[in-house]
């Protein structure tokens, strides 16, 4: 987090891990000087009262800058025939375990951008599973954005003809709003979270290209109605596919691999 303004954006850290698991950081310049544009912290300018003002019509999309960066990421990836998949879920749904399994079974080169508020835990797990990874720590930030992914891609240097997973910050709310330049969005939900999640977090499910229902090995121990879950997800996203799997036992992961292509 930026210590001057408290914003989450400026504080993101990108860390790459070398073969021995050592890290080296990419320090992000964060301008706090006057005239620094949107993110400057120049002298406060009190509003004047009684001054005549005039209306300036703007009609600009608020997230246009993020969307432009996402489009640049998307064409960079497409030029290298890299399939980018944005993985989103609440914390603890099993994204990293699913990735460990996927890396072990992969026939194409896989690399991973790991997003978390803090720690390098997940990037280390991915390296141990045999893929290259960079960790983005968002500090106070609750989601990855296209600028963070652009920095991570520059550091990661994914192979051509490969699969890139972007593991978003564990959160079923904010990541739905930010295009990263991915080709497909995956929402992972575990059965222990309850079957009411689609209607509680509708924006996330509306944005998904596929829903992975994880931890199905625990179904005998929890009250989870897979039929209700699937029907609710489809009330938000009519044709969305729901893939029940267990990343821990490996059950039905073939369906996930087939979906990935």
């Amino acid at each position: 987090m930026c210590s001057t303004c408290g914003c989450g954006e400026g504080g993101a850290r990108v860390s790459a891990l070398d073969e021995r698991g050592r890290t080296y950081d990419d320090h992000h310049d964060h301008d706090h000087g006057p005239g620094a544009g949107a993110h400057g912290h120049g002298s406060p300018v009190p509003p004047e009262s009684g001054t005549r003002t005039h209306t300036l019509e703007l009609e600009v999309a608020v997230l246009a800058k993020n969307d432009e960066l996402a489009a640049a990421n998307r064409s960079w990836l497409a030029a290298r025939r890299i399939t980018a998949v944005n993985l989103m879920s609440s914390p603890g749904a099993g994204k990293t375990t699913l990735l460990e399994r996927t890396i072990q079974a992969a026939t194409r080169s896989v690399s991973v951008v790991e997003g978390d508020q803090e720690t390098l835990f997940d990037a280390r797990r991915i390296r141990q599973a045999g893929a290259r990874a960079v960790q983005v720590n968002t500090g106070a930030g609750c989601h990855l954005d296209a600028a963070m992914v652009a920095r991570a891609l520059a550091r990661l240097g994914p192979d051509e003809d490969s699969v890139l997973f972007i593991e978003n910050v564990g959160n079923l709310v904010c990541p739905a709003l930010f295009d990263l330049g991915e080709k497909r969005k995956v929402v992972v939900v575990s059965v222990t979270e309850g079957d009411d999640k689609p209607l509680k977090y509708p924006h996330m499910f509306a944005a998904a290209d596929v829903v992975v229902l994880n931890k199905t090995d625990l179904l005998p121990y929890v009250d989870f109605d897979t039929g209700r879950f699937t029907a609710d997800a489809r009330s938000l996203n009519r044709h969305v596919e729901v893939l029940p799997v267990s990343a821990r036992t490996g059950a039905n992961l073939e369906a996930w691999y087939e979906w990935l292509g």
Partner: protein, 109 residues
């Protein structure tokens, strides 16, 4: 709290066009399906605009209904939540609008 990131984007997209000129009002249009909470955004805007020519500006938010078209009965209707269901009972619904998030105009000195 993605509203903080959204508020920062509001400030930067306005500043790009208004530069050093003082801004007293920022008007936004937010679709009801945009996934942004106006109250949270107003709170974050105060933080994000601090120390810029937008400091102290008031934020006027107009919320736009979502619009959708039912493919079964071919009627258009308002939609204020993301559950795609027509009154006729069909869920074969096409979302036409409601996810907009834009700065419509500002008052500059």
């Amino acid at each position: 709290m993605h509203e903080l990131a959204v508020a920062e984007s509001v400030v930067s997209s306005v500043l790009e066009r208004t530069g050093d000129r003082r801004v007293s009002v920022v008007r936004l249009s937010i679709g009801r399906l945009a996934g942004v909470v106006p109250d949270a955004l107003s709170f974050c805007f105060e933080l994000a605009s601090g120390g810029t020519p937008l400091q102290g500006a008031s934020l006027e938010i107009s919320e736009a209904h979502g619009r959708a078209r039912c493919r079964s009965c071919e009627s258009d209707f308002d939609l204020d939540d993301p559950i795609l269901l027509c009154d006729c009972g069909s869920a074969d619904v096409l979302l036409l609008s409601g996810r907009e998030l834009s700065v419509t105009s500002v008052e500059v000195a």
